[in-house]
């Protein structure tokens, strides 16, 4: 059991160690009954992206690509 706030701002890296930026948001699929997490919204440009000024062009990383969630970071499959 996690909270959204605890995931935000964690570094997102691939298994080989490439940095994909920080997690700013989670993409979700909202239905009448549930809200499922479908992807990670990451960004490298920092504060401006967090405030949504520069919309990220890269699509969210699918949740299925997440390999593990560690103390300070999230590890995803190599792209």
């Amino acid at each position: 059991m996690r909270t959204l706030s605890s995931l935000q701002r964690r570094k997102v890296v691939t298994e080989s160690g490439d940095s994909l930026g920080r997690l700013y948001d989670l993409r979700g699929e909202l239905t009448a009954r549930a809200l499922t997490v479908s992807g990670l919204v990451t960004g490298k440009r920092g504060l401006l992206e967090h405030f949504g000024v520069l919309r990220r062009k890269t699509p969210p990383i699918p949740w299925s690509d997440v390999v593990r969630i560690e103390g300070k970071r999230i590890v995803v499959r190599d792209r």
């Binding site: 706030s5 967090h50 405030f51 949504g52 000024v53």
Partner: protein
Amino acid sequence: MSKIFGVALGILAAIGGFVDIGDLVFNVSAGATFGYQLMWVLPIGVVGIIVYSEMCGRIAAVSKKAVFDAVRDRVGFSAGLGALIASEVVNLMTFAAELGGVAISLQLLCGLPYRWLIALAVVGLAVVIWVTSFEWIERIFGYGGLCLLVFAVAAVKLTPDWGKFGNGFIPHVAQNNSLLYAYFVVGLLGAAMTPYEVYFYSSGGVEEEWTPKDISLNRANAIIGYGLGGFLSVALMVTGATLFLGHGISPAHLGTIALGAQVPLGEIGLLLALIGILFAVGGASIDTVFSGAYNLAQFCGWEWGRYRTNVNAPRFTLTWIVLLALGMGIVMTGVDAVVLTEYAVIFSVVALPLTYIPILLVANDEAYMGRHRNGRLANVLGVVYLVVIMVVALSAIPLMILTNVGQN
């Protein structure tokens, strides 16, 4: 027909409500110190508050969110909390300054001791808020503030040098005393673009359940109301320039400001000026206290609003009562109302970007605004004023220190 009547009434209330103690102090002082040289700053300030209010009003109408709803939504909890703390401190300082102004005007009108009048003013304001509906509060203080038009009449009667007056509208840098000149530029802009004005305006919009259909009406209301209200600021500066410039009189007291109407128009001028000041500053007191309560309630997610009735928004009600008490405490310490006003205006200016930036972001956000998001004109103005606000916010405190709060 009755719609036009309603709009006209709204405009009148906006004019009367435009001036607060910051405008009284800074506009008259600017005239007394620099004559007409700072006139050009006033239209910039008026357009600035129109741009900011219009965005906030549109956001309220389309997304049903007032400023702090939108701020917290958009920039998140920690940035929102920072903005909240800054805004509450500034709101409280501003309220204390306005309350001091109310007490001083009462004292000039009836001569009772100052400290009694502070308590009387607070009790009076509390009763008015408790008992009166939102619309009637706006009307009473808005129409009462129209008495300030006496300054417009007085300004003309004082036969200003119209040539120099006209020249004042052309922007130029100071010939001498440039630090003090810059301080007044900052102060005049801060007095015109008071943040509590937009907190109150947008919360009022949500209270009155504006919809996208109300957007153009309220835009017109804001433009005409604030635009005409700006004339009162011009009149105040002219008063300062014709009466006080060169005579070494610095209007450090509200009574001196009221002289601006007495000299050309006699006792009736003085009376109207004092009544106008009382209502304008009294209305501003209520606006600031409400703004403080609105902001806290919106940030925390509490039920809020005068339309909910006192009993159905308990924490909101308690907040404005506590703010009244805190403001009274500050004024009771005997701090000079004019000095407090200067500090309040300068600090508002510093805090201005903290809410302006999120509002500019929300006004542009399609998810919040749909097809009502900022068009090109709104964005050009929005960004221009962002630059103005940032420059002013960053230079405010250094200028305040360097000019010793305008004393030089």
